[in-house]
């Protein structure tokens, strides 16, 4: 059962990721990204990170992806969409990426991962997560808040200036 669930998640994630990577249509790629995000969210939930899975869904699938799709819509013309996501440099990149895969595979296979997950309880981590965020990781947490704020303002400023120059 576990194997099955993991297999489904794996296939969904990697499959949609492949579409993202290889599709020539940007809209397709963007939509395929939903699959990847869902798969990753599933992985999280499977790995006892329920809260993170939910956050993944809300932020990525619900927020970022919508943004991306809006951006795609705003910047490309529909009639070009069939080839809106052109690629380049395949001759150089493909060998490099393959080499990378080999290297990482080498690192992976150097060690034997034996630890099994069976028997480990599924406990909600959200309480512990909240405690940690407000104790040990308080400073990074606050920093992230500031960064978020800055990003918000920055985005507003960048777009506003754009409006201004339009006038």
């Amino acid at each position: 059962m576990e194997t099955f669930i993991v297999s489904v998640i794996f296939i969904v994630t990697v499959g949609s990721a492949c579409i993202v990577a290889f599709s020539n249509n940007l809209v397709y790629s963007a939509f395929a990204l939903i699959g990847t995000f869902l798969g990753v969210a599933g992985t999280f939930i499977y790995l006892n990170a329920t809260f993170l899975g939910l956050v993944q869904l809300v932020v990525y699938a619900g927020g970022i992806l919508v943004l991306i799709i809006f951006a795609v819509m705003l910047t490309s013309k529909i009639n070009e969409s069939s080839r809106s996501n052109p690629g380049a440099n395949y001759k150089a990149v493909v060998p490099l990426v393959l080499l990378l895969v080999l290297l990482v595979g080498r690192i992976l296979t150097r060690d034997v991962w034996t630890k099994d997950l069976s028997g480990m309880a599924h406990e909600p981590t959200i309480t512990a997560l909240g405690n940690l965020l407000l104790t040990d990781y308080l400073l990074p947490f606050e920093l992230v808040s500031v960064v978020l704020l800055a990003a918000m303002i920055g985005a507003a400023v960048i777009s506003r200036r754009k409006v201004k120059t339009q006038e």
Binding site: N89, V93, L99, L100, L103, V104, R106, I107
Partner: protein, 702 residues
């Protein structure tokens, strides 16, 4: 009164200083003072000072003879271990006499100057200087230590400089002042050396001091000391005497005094006859206890004195400028004073100083009166017959002339005869060389009588030659209208403020001699005094042991008078009825005449040897400085420059080449590498990944 005098005798020098400040400060800042103010202040302070001096005299007189000495401390001057010098004034009989001479004659000359300088534009400046001079002179005679005496010594030198060059716009006047100061400085050089040697010689005995009262008690310790194998006392005395030759115009440093006549005549009278030039005499008399210890030094003093007395007198024969005659006469008379000092007769020296102050001041002031009367004509060849025009001047001048010639009972007789007798007496009892010195003295006295009468005759007798065109051309050269004065010159008598001092001084030179009647004469009249003056000075200058009353002294005395009288007669005749004979003599022995007329070419000699020498030497020094020392510096500089050029070249080609090389390598590499900068973000990402891959490969391999 007595306490007042004792506590306030510093006022005597300070009063003229007050006058100096009151007249000098406004003049210095450019305020034009009224003449009445100037002379009231200047003469007023001198009068007060003189009255104080009189007060001092009587205060001293009231004291018992042994207690006639007190010191008025003003403030400590320099106190450093052994050096204990104060600004303090010593009052004793010697300084009281000097104070009276300085303030008394000074006051008279101030009065005279109000008349003499009445038309001068720098009236206030003149009196300023004159007051300053009196201040300095009083410091000189009142200072209680050698260093303070030196302050006055230099101070009067300064005033002399300022006053000789008073009419500085005429170049020779300034030059004469400069000459006076520098020649005096040469003397001061000796003075300083003497003072230093004295101090440290005493220091070695453990009694270092420069204060006169203390010196007197400790000089005995000097006896065994030597400097360079010579007795220390002799060395010190000789050095101090060098100072005296400078200030008192003795051979070899007398050359400045005749030139000093460039100053206004009152100055010549006050500074260059009556007071300043006698400072050397005063100094040696003050240090009599020291000089007495060294017969050798005394011999030197006497020799120089006698030689100066004789040479000065001979030069006087041929001078035509009335003031020059008097100047050489002063040189000669100062020689007598030194002869007295050198004979151990210090009191006689001081006495001659006093009488000389009277009659020589009178003579100078008289000549001043004549010069004024002649409208600033000083050449005697243009004078003559002035007796008629200026009777008071004539009478006073004549009185003083008789006094200086040494005719009894005028002042000069007593003082000069005393000197000659003392020299003779010393020859009898001591070194025989004094006979020779005495003989020189007598010859000088004869000369004095002769040239003084020549002077009187040329000036006052005969007829006025100033309006004689031929004589004028002879004197001033052709086609030169003298001083722009047109028409005939008519001499005239001077107002009261000029003649009054003349009369007073003439009276003093008439009766002054009776202050010090020799023992032999008092003895003849049944007295026992060895002279009031000698006795008065006895606390400072011990009385000479009484020699036996000898008929020889009488003989010499009469001989002096006789010789003087004869020479006066000759002098009179030679320039009245025997004029042609004199001219023939001059024509026959032109060399002798020229030598005398040109003062034996001493000035020329000094100028050629010393002045030229120094000027040449300083040119050499400066050349050395510029062409050797500085050239070396510049050479080092230039060497540095050349060296740095070489280094610079090396630097350019090698060191900098290296630097530039690395620079251009970088440049080249950069030019190649910049092609990687494509601006294409994929390429950058690719680069990053490539880096990761490389690192991973390395990680795995290692």
């Amino acid at each position: 009164m007595e306490d007042f005098i004792k506590n306030y005798c510093w006022l005597i020098p300070v009063l003229p200083l007050v006058g100096f400040v009151f007249n000098g400060l406004p003049t210095a800042v450019g305020i034009k003072l009224s003449r009445a103010y100037v002379y009231t202040v200047a003469c007023g302070v001198m009068l007060l000072s003189f009255l104080m001096g009189v007060g001092v005299f009587f205060t001293l007189k009231a004291l018992p003879e042994t207690a006639r000495e007190f010191t008025n401390l003003v403030w400590p001057w320099i106190h450093l271990e052994a050096i204990q010098l104060d600004i303090a004034f010593l009052i004793d009989p010697l300084s009281s006499v000097m104070i009276l001479v300085v303030t008394g004659v000074g006051f008279l000359i101030h009065i005279y100057s109000t008349g003499y300088m009445r038309e001068d534009k720098d009236y206030a400046r003149f009196f300023t200087y004159l007051n300053l001079f009196c201040f300095m002179m009083l410091i000189l005679v009142m200072g209680d230590n050698l260093m303070l005496l030196f302050v006055g010594w230099e101070g009067v030198g300064l005033c002399s400089y300022l006053l000789i060059g008073f009419w500085y716009e005429h170049k020779p006047n300034g030059v004469a002042g400069m000459k006076a100061f520098i020649v005096n400085r040469i003397g001061d050089f000796g003075f300083m050396v003497g003072m230093l040697a004295l101090f440290w010689a005493l220091y070695n005995t453990g009694h270092a001091t420069l204060t006169f009262t203390k010196l007197k008690t400790v000089v005995w310790f000097l006896q065994p000391q030597t400097i360079l194998g010579v007795s220390a006392v002799t060395m010190i005395c000789l050095c101090l005497f060098v100072g005296a030759t400078g200030k008192s115009a003795q051979i070899p440093l007398y050359v400045w005094l005749p030139d000093a006549m460039a100053g206004p005549t009152p100055v010549s009278a006050l500074i260059h006859a009556a007071t300043m030039v006698t400072a050397g005499v005063y100094m040696i008399a003050r240090l009599n206890f020291l000089f007495t210890l060294s017969p050798a030094a005394l011999g030197a003093v006497a020799t120089i004195g006698a030689a100066t007395a004789f040479i000065g007198a001979t030069i006087g024969f041929a001078q035509n400028d009335i003031k020059k005659v008097l100047a050489y006469s002063t040189v000669s008379q100062l020689g007598y004073m030194f002869l007295a000092l050198g004979s151990g007769a210090y009191a006689a020296g001081i006495f001659h100083l006093t009488t000389h102050a009277f009659f020589k001041a009178c003579l100078f002031l008289g000549s001043g009166s004549v010069i004024l009367g002649m409208h600033h004509e000083q050449d005697m060849r243009l004078m003559g017959g002035l007796k008629k025009y200026m009777p008071i001047t004539f009478m006073t001048f004549l009185t003083a002339t008789i006094a200086i010639a040494g005719i009894a009972p005028f002042a000069g007789f007593f003082s000069k005869d005393e000197i000659l007798w003392q020299a003779f007496a010393r020859a009898v009892h001591g070194p025989k060389v004094y006979y020779f010195l005495w003989a020189l003295g007598v010859l000088g006295a004869m000369g004095t009588a002769f040239y003084m009468l020549r002077c009187v005759t040329l000036t006052f007798f005969g007829t006025l030659r100033a309006n004689d065109k031929k004589t004028r051309e002879l004197v001033h050269g052709p086609h030169k209208d003298h001083h722009g004065h047109h028409g005939d010159l008519v001499p005239h008598e001077q107002p009261w403020n000029v003649t009054l001092p003349l009369v007073v001084l003439a009276l003093l030179s008439l009766v002054g001699g009776f202050l010090n009647v020799p023992y032999i004469i008092t003895h003849f009249f049944g007295g026992h005094s060895s002279g009031l003056f000698n006795e008065w000075l006895s606390p400072v200058i011990p009385l000479q042991a009484h020699h036996e009353v000898s008929s020889l002294e009488w003989v010499l005395m009469f001989k002096s008078v006789l010789v003087a009288a004869v020479c006066m007669y000759l002098g009179y005749k030679a320039y009245t009825s025997w004029q042609t004979g004199v001219d023939r003599f001059v024509k026959k022995f032109p060399r002798i005449y020229d030598a005398v007329y040109n003062k034996y070419y001493v000035d020329e000699f000094y100028h050629a040897v010393f002045v030229r020498g120094v000027l040449l030497f300083n040119k050499c020094c400066f050349s050395v400085d510029r062409y050797i020392v500085d050239a070396l510096v510049n050479l080092v500089g230039r060497f540095g420059a050349v060296y740095s050029d070489i280094i610079g070249w090396f630097d350019n080609f090698f060191v900098d080449g290296l630097v530039n090389g690395s620079g251009s390598i970088t440049d080249f590499t950069g030019a190649q590498l910049k092609k990687l900068q494509t601006g294409n973000i994929q390429h950058y990402a690719y680069g990053a990944v490539l880096g990761v891959v490389v690192v991973m490969i390395l990680k795995i391999l290692m």
